[in-house]
Amino acid sequence: MMVEGHPVALDPEGYLVSLDDWSERVAEALAADEGRELTPAHWEIIGVLRDFYQRFEAAPAMRPLVKAVKQALGEEKGNSIYLMRLFPDSPAKVGARLAGLPKPTNCL
């Protein structure tokens, strides 16, 4: 994938090979790649995910993601319905990809 003239390596599932490559432009390109456009609501959650990884060195499963969103953004966003609407299929996996976190290890 090319972002602003620089190559960004992705693994076969579209996760960043090197987490240091992440930037907001890269996140937008990753989202465009799967036909999404990032709104301020998405960016809020991406921020929570990146903060989670900074603190705990792991991508969250769904349950702790909901809890982290609740703590950061309040009750109305800290629920799985809201997150599923923003990131259909699997908020924990899709979110981790867009936020430049390691691929969740499939343990969940």
Partner: protein, 128 residues
């Protein structure tokens, strides 16, 4: 919220006993992974730190050489998985010259008799 200040430990669905120190082996990491996954699946999980496993809780830990991940971020994350019941062997703590102030998370020290009861009262126990 489960009240752990009671002298009788309140059993959870699963007790994970951690007996190995961080960094030297992968036991602690993989034991904590089981605890986290069980909690993500909605099980109530309690942790018991015994022997050198108590060193998992020591303050001031860092990543190891070559960026080896520590287990302290995993421990800090327990709260996000609603694992807030942490027991520690009182004897193990004393033998290592440690007190609760030296540890990164609040724990409930248990005397030997309470530890026996802890194991007896949990329906499932895994030791790492």
């Amino acid at each position: 919220m489960i009240d752990v200040s009671d002298s009788r430990p309140v059993p959870q669905d699963l007790l994970v006993v951690l007996r190995h120190p961080p960094h030297g082996t992968h036991w602690l990491r993989e034991g904590l992974d089981v605890a986290l996954v069980a909690a993500a699946f909605g099980q109530r999980v309690g942790l018991l730190f015994q022997g050198d496993g108590i060193y998992a809780l020591l303050k001031g830990q860092q990543a190891g050489p070559l960026g080896q991940k520590g287990t302290h971020p995993q421990l800090a994350m327990l709260e996000m998985y609603d694992i807030d019941t942490l027991w520690v062997s009182a004897r193990g703590l004393n033998e290592r010259g440690l007190s609760a102030d030296d540890l990164m998370l609040p724990v409930v020290p248990l005397e030997a008799s309470a530890m026996v009861e802890l194991l007896q009262r949990h329906p499932h126990t895994l030791i790492f």
